[in-house]
Amino acid sequence: MADKTYWTGSDKYHCDKDLAQVFHISRTLGMPLLIEGEPGTGKTELPIQYARDLGLELFVYPVGSKSNVEQFVASFDHVKYLRDSQVEILNAQREEKGLASKLTTGGRQTENMSDYVVKGPAVNAFLSPNSVLLIDEIDKAPREFPNDLLYALSHRKFILPESGEEISVSEENMPAIVITSNREQELPTAFKGRCIYHYIHFPEADVMRDIIQKHFPQIENKIVDVALDVFYHLRNIGLERAPTTRELLNWLKYIKTYSTEEAIQKIENIEGVGTLIKTQGDLEKIQRHVLRDPDDFKRRSTPN
């Protein structure tokens, strides 16, 4: 019986209430949860932390431009099969000639097709009840990939190639499936229809504070105040690529190695800006902002 309890995050992971609820809904209905949202909002972290917190087995399939459904479900190793059948012939010939030494097939039997089936994360997840399956960044996949998944997702059944073995899972034991997307490509409507959909909104300051606390429990409140102020200000000045949660956390990781005063000084001067800003244009824009009106910037970034 798969876990159907309401999970609200762990001490390491702040799970937004909305996300926690929709995650619970998707598990209760035995449907995959499709999460979209800005990069760095913790989409991938959800299943990872959930599995870790509850001690569940986690299977990950990172999607790339060459992904196909065989890698995800199962593929048949033709080359190995071919080699082994040749080895058999070879061994027979050797025996005929009275040679004792034999080539080994590593315990595989050519009569047994399932010895050559390479199981992918999907089949493995279906085979272990109450597990978690993450399909990461599905928008990177070739167009056909999501459509190929449809059958498996709606029938909860895979048929292994060549061996014809059927792997199915009851709705009860359906693994918790989480699919993430950065929206780089539109997913087919039919595919989305099979999923429970959730769009992660960018966290507001009070939620962000909570997230920071979970990552750096030791950090001083004062530093967080100033950093959040600068961070949200940077997000609002219309950069090409606005900094996200991930970048803020990296920045704080660097900042927190200093004493409080030094740290605040560094934040106000936006030192270590390389962790926050990822394009040349944005960097120039910020430098212009800070240089042109440093007082204004400082005023905004200093708590009253």
Binding site: V22, H24, I25, T28, S65, Y197, Y199, G281
Partner: protein
């Protein structure tokens, strides 16, 4: 039950059908929907498939379940305040709290709290309350005691609630929804508190709990106030709002990413070498380079409003995909030269221009409107040459399509080069047309 739901939601351009109803039914069966707030959350997971669906969904939800119509551009607050549902609720609420002194804003907040109260909230409050009471066991407080009792009652009622047969539950939900439309007869049948919430009907218990504006109400407000959660008009001339949608359409001209393909020749050759043992040899099919030339008409006032957005659009494209993008300018029409700078001081002659790689995709952007004598034979010949050299040439026109037939020169040019409106949809069509023409090797 809820037979009219899919149709009513489809009115808002949302995807709702029989499957929506089946899923809704399953959700109720599994005990996911016990309050109106639960209904909002579950249906959102089922129906919303894009952040742009959020706005229409919230509107449809308020119209269908609460009989509150949110006009275009109206804030959620205003829509609620002028609705009859809210008037009835307020009457009822004030009757229950005779000595309450709060302003309208706060009343709306409480209304939203009740509408968006979910089972999760109730559970959280109850567990929180128990914790609190345990810590404070030495200080018996009458109020706190009552609350604790009330919380227990909620819990029991919730358990009771799941015993109700599905059909009856559905019927009740539907009836309560209908009641919003009929005259309010006072008392306990308002959607949020009376009917489908686990509080049951009436009684003091239901007032023991307040969520405090953190839940879905805040989200609904945010959604209504933010354009990001409404679909972009694909037929309007590109502007700051839909430039990203236009960019998405432009992405279509990028060929598919590299993929593996069976290399038949090598497979045969290698197989023969192995004495008939054929192993599949794969080859990687390379990604084709994307090369784009922009020819922008930046003369004349008619083009001024669009130039910045156009440049922004293609600049964004350049930052997202590493490829070749060249921009040239012209005034009204092209004769024997185009210019490589905005001020049109550095000429590039057409003969040289035509020496470029024929794989360039050429976008000519202009209103194609000028005095008839300006579009002479030389200019038309130039267009023909460009079209002949670069097979994938299209014209994007910022002028709304319905005015096109008024302009003489526009129609002449249109006969030479395929013309599309400069809207996200037009760009999409242009890209499809380019791809249809195939590669000119």
């Amino acid at each position: 039950m809820f037979e009219s739901l899919p149709a009513r939601f489809r009115d808002y351009d949302l995807k709702a059908d029989v499957r929506t109803l089946l899923l809704l039914r399953r959700s109720i069966e599994r005990g996911l929907i016990k309050t109106l707030g639960d209904m909002y959350n579950v249906l959102r997971g089922i129906i919303v498939k894009d952040p742009e669906d959020m706005g229409p969904y919230t509107k449809a939800y308020y119209a269908y379940f609460l009989n509150i119509d949110i006009e275009n551009g109206e804030s959620l607050h205003d829509a609620i305040v002028r609705s009859e549902t809210f008037r009835n609720w307020r009457e009822d609420y004030l009757k229950r709290h005779p000595d309450l002194d709060i302003d309208l804003e706060e009343l709306v907040n409480r209304f939203l709290d009740e509408v968006h109260l979910t089972t999760y909230d109730i559970k959280e409050i109850i567990s929180g309350r128990e914790l609190f009471d345990k810590n404070d066991a030495d200080q018996p407080d009458d109020d706190g005691g009552n609350l604790q009792e009330a919380a227990r009652k909620h819990l029991e009622k919730m358990a009771d609630y799941s015993d109700i047969p599905l059909e009856e539950l559905l019927e009740r939900l539907e009836k309560i929804r209908d009641q919003q439309k009929t005259n309010h007869s006072g008392g306990s049948h308002w959607v949020g508190t009376g009917g489908i919430s686990p509080y049951g009907h009436g009684g003091a218990a239901r007032d023991g709990i307040r969520v405090g504006g953190t839940g879905g109400g805040k989200m609904a407000r945010m959604v209504m106030g933010d354009r990001k959660y409404f679909p972009v008009d694909m037929d309007s001339i590109i502007n700051d709002n839909n430039v990203d949608a236009a960019l998405a359409s432009l992405k279509g001209i990028i060929e598919e990413s590299p993929y593996d393909k069976l290399d038949v020749d090598t497979t045969i050759k290698e197989g023969l070498k192995r004495g008939g043992l054929f192993l599949p040899e794969m080859k990687n099919v390379e990604d084709k380079k994307l090369q784009v030339i922009l020819l922008i008409d930046n003369g004349g006032y008619s083009m001024d409003p669009y130039i910045i957005t156009i440049r922004e659009l293609f600049k964004k494209m350049k930052t997202r995909f590493a490829h070749d993008l060249e921009t040239y300018y012209f005034h009204n029409t092209i004769y024997d030269r185009v210019f490589s700078d905005v001020r049109r001081s550095k000429p590039v002659f057409i003969d040289r221009f035509l020496k470029k790689d024929p794989n360039y995709k050429v976008f000519i952007i202009g209103d194609a409107s000028m005095a008839p004598y300006e579009l002479n034979k030389q200019s038309l010949r130039t267009y023909l040459k460009i079209k002949k050299k670069f097979k994938k040439t299209v014209w994007l026109n910022p002028e709304p399509k319905r005015y096109w037939h008024h302009t003489f020169t526009l129609n002449i040019i249109k006969q030479t080069i395929d013309m599309f409106p400069l809207t996200p949809k037009g760009i999409e069509e242009a890209v499809q047309e380019m791809n249809r023409r195939g590669n000119n090797y």
